[in-house]
Symmetry: C2
Subunit: 200 residues, 2 copies
């Protein structure tokens, strides 16, 4: 048995909070009471920054990542290495790769090939990517799509396209994560690590 | 090493999302990219309902629970039992108790006695509670504060106050949860269940 929330706008807040990944009805209820009881200022700032972010952030015309200007900060930075292009599935991947100190350029597919979901080369902006590679300054395309079935298929598809051009395609190494233990590793990763073992 | 988010408003959104309970930097980053990539409509609705909730929801003048009107829906309902008053720590408790079909009145302390945090009888609205009990229609006060050290202390404090008046004070029963297993029960609860065992 479930009773209606005490006020209508509380009910609407509980509904709206369920847009957050992994947040169901119970968690949304807990969050909304928490905010109303203990952090109204924080809730106000959150409302403001959500509004601001969805209004201002669009996709960069060059790399398709997130940007508040037609061309993003990273594409616009003259100090970055134009010979390297890193192809990723999602804008969040840029954030992660930036943290390891990569200084080349990016291209965001905004997804991966998935014919069943109607996601083909057109949705991934492959034409824009081809045009960028055709420009001639790029010497290496790092295919940093996720090591999933769709991610691999997407990387292979782009690799095929690049074969026609004078450009090197690379893929991130796979194996045992640093600090990982063999005991807890899945068989596929372990097999891959065995096959790609290096001579010391 | 952490790099700045790609855009300023994305950075502000990541900061603001950390007002949610249990959400740290990493989760906030994941949530903000998820919303911007896949659910901008949901994010817009969330911003709107946060704004609406913090603007409209205040505390009921009668029970101190959440309300959009000076007196809340529950206090204003003439069909409820005026002889029962349930005292809870937080407005969320009302929601939970409503779900089990309780039809009496409520009083929300908005906290529990905690001298170290500067929360005394004044902060809990004890004067308002006393005035309500003095009204004479209430026959039983159900002290439904949480079974924690502070919750018990708060219940005891209110119980002492009520002794002067012709009103029964009750406390929720404690014991083994329905469907619980002895094996996984903590010692305190089990001891309490033993001490409060009933004759069949």
């Amino acid at each position: 048995m479930s009773s209606a929330p005490v006020t209508d706008s509380l009910g609407r807040l509980i509904d709206a909070l369920q847009c957050l990944p992994g947040v169901g009805r119970k968690t949304a209820q807990r969050i909304s009471y928490h905010l109303l009881e203990r952090n109204r200022d924080g809730a106000g700032r959150l409302a403001e920054s959500l509004r601001e972010a969805i209004e201002r952030i669009d996709n960069c015309q060059c790399c398709r990542g997130f940007s508040e200007t037609p061309v993003c900060r990273l594409c616009d930075d003259p100090s970055r290495d134009d010979s390297l292009l890193c192809v990723v599935e999602s804008p969040v991947d840029i954030q992660i790769i930036e943290e390891i100190g990569y200084r080349g350029r990016y291209f965001v597919l905004m997804g991966r090939l998935s014919p069943l979901d109607g996601i083909g080369p057109e949705e991934l902006g492959i034409e824009l990517l081809s045009a960028r590679v055709a420009g001639g300054t790029i010497q290496e395309v790092i295919l940093a799509t996720n090591p999933t079935v769709e991610g691999e298929a997407t990387a292979n598809f782009i690799h095929e396209l690049l074969k026609k051009r004078q450009v090197r395609a690379t893929r991130l190494a796979q194996g045992i994560p640093i600090g990982g233990e063999l005991e807890y590793l899945d068989g596929n990763t372990l097999a891959c690590a065995f096959n790609s073992r290096r001579v010391l």
